[in-house]
Amino acid sequence: MNIVVLVKQVPDTWAERKLNADDKTLDRASVDVVMNEIDEYAVEEALKIKEAGEGEVTILTMGPERAIETIRKALSMGADKAVHLVDDALKGSDAVQTSYAIAKVLETLEYDLLICGSEATDSRMAIMAALLSERTGKPQLSGARKVTVEGGNVKIERQTDNGYDVVEAATPAIVSVVEKINEPRYPSFKGIMAAKSKPLTTLTIADAGIDAAQVGLAAAPSQVVEFANKPPRQAGQIVKDEGDGGSKVAEYLASQKIV
């Protein structure tokens, strides 16, 4: 079974995240960047499926030059090879455009499963599996907390608000996973060394047959008009429990007309 894992490099949640004042796009330059956390679970799930059978795990990333750090991490976890779509023309693309570009690259790859994280910590849209399913015509199995592959079928437990749905489809299929699904491995020293010599294909938009008129900020179907950094929340009243703490909280809630 050949698996493509889609990974995204994002600003570290622990860093101060900003938009650029000039073009209102995400500031990727001045912050620490990491692999989107949930994507580590996607990589882990792909490796587990591969280890239970055979096949190759290919990492696919769209992002600027420095996204190579995220690719290396995925390779050091144990993925076999990687494809990096990198082109200045892609800067400022929104999610819908990004799905177009990634779908074009997917046309050049052979896979039984495409696995991605359920959402990225920067945009938090949680729609890439749906977008790619719509683009490619391959089934969407999103929000998986468990994935079972049997022959040409894949079955997931899709997390819902009050439990889960069991959803199944024939491969090739597009799966997104939630963090409950597994515990991602740490790259070993051996893995880190091996990652340096694993095959990496770098593609420009021309290489992938992506129409330049359909990507990038100027062509984006959704656009940021303006933004403002909000002042941080101010701490309110802090009270120490003197044996009547519960009543104090109740009094506060009553004063706010909540109870």
């Binding site: 938090r124 749906a130 999103s142 959704s222 109740a250």
Partner: protein, 317 residues
């Protein structure tokens, strides 16, 4: 007035509160038409006229419930082609966002998710990076497709014509690729949905074990609240993962958020700091949660919370 399509989220015929909020919001933008799909759609359709729906498009086609997400997007795409609405509004939950995503591709339109407000010019306000930045965004191509977070608008009734129109939907093979074979309910019933509850009570590492979550549940029940949990608590297996509030869990924006035994790491704050009022109970006076609490109580949750529950029950009499 321009027609605004509003996708109604309902559970087997009972619309969720977010659907009424969306219809209320749609009235400020044009003439709302409700779209009610799947099992129980006809029953749900009877309830949405009271919130201003002029037209109600209904389909109970079996495919809508038998296959994941894609068939619903197909029906909406057919309605967009037939009715040329000024915008499509969809509740911002996991399924709603996925329907919106597919609809955007099908109709060649721009998509905005997680809006907390929409102006008459269809400029949407979003709060990003855990509420640290307020963004105004618009759709530049096609029909604006906007998903709106629960608790963004106060629902209000206003009678609409409520003319029901049955929609004859056609589905492609691709719509029928991901089959829903079973639905399993794990959570105890009776509590409001975490995403749209107006009060949320969450427990964290300070709870110590799964059994102690009954203290949080008792407080939640006294307030009519939903129960949340921090990542520390869900990772430890003390509470179900679907109740996790935070960066990698659910984002909530209730009227009142009560954090019990939660230190307030950035991971958690990103999912709750746009709540209107925040109350924190923690024994550590240095806990970062106190930096954003409107009211903080430094004390032992095991004595404070039961006392609070009792006090609220008494006041509600």
């Amino acid at each position: 007035m321009a027609e605004i399509l509003v996708l109604v989220d309902h559970v087997e015929g009972t619309p969720k509160k977010a659907s009424y909020e969306l219809l209320t919001l749609a009235r400020s933008l044009g003439e709302p038409s409700a779209v009610v799909l799947g099992k129980g759609a006809s029953a749900a359709a009877e309830k949405v006229g009271a919130y201003g729906a002029e037209k109600i498009y209904v389909s109970e086609a079996e495919e809508l419930s038998a296959y994941l997400v894609a068939p619903k997007a197909s029906v909406l795409a057919q309605l967009v082609a037939d009715k040329s609405p000024a915008a499509v509004l969809i509740p911002s939950n996991a399924e709603g966002k996925e329907i919106a995503a597919r609809l955007a591709v099908k109709t060649g339109s721009g998509l905005l998710t997680d809006a907390v407000g929409i102006t008459p010019e269809f400029v949407a306000e979003q709060q990003i990076f855990g509420g640290a930045v307020a963004v105004q965004a618009k759709v530049a191509t096609g029909t604006p497709i906007i998903t709106v977070r629960p608790n963004s608008t106060a629902p209000s009734e206003q009678a609409g014509a409520g003319t029901v129109e049955q929609v004859t939907a056609t589905f492609t093979d691709a719509d029928k690729a991901a089959r829903v074979v079973d639905s399993v309910v794990e959570a105890k019933g009776g509590r409001p949905d975490l995403g749209e509850a107006s009060i949320v009570v969450s427990g964290g590492r300070g709870m110590g074990n799964a059994e102690n979550f009954s203290i949080v549940e008792a407080l939640a029940d006294s307030l009519g609240a939903a129960v949340g949990a921090s990542r520390a608590a869900t990772d430890a297996g003390w509470y179900p993962h679907q109740n996790q509030v935070g960066q990698t869990g659910r984002t909530v924006s209730p009227q009142l958020y009560v954090a019990v035994g939660i230190s307030g790491a950035i991971q958690h704050r990103a999912g709750m700091q746009t709540s209107k009022t925040i109350v924190a109970i923690n024994k550590d006076p240095e806990a970062p949660i106190f930096e954003l609490a409107d009211f903080g109580l430094v004390g032992d949750l095991f004595t404070v919370v039961p006392q609070l529950t009792e006090e609220i029950t008494k006041r509600k009499g």
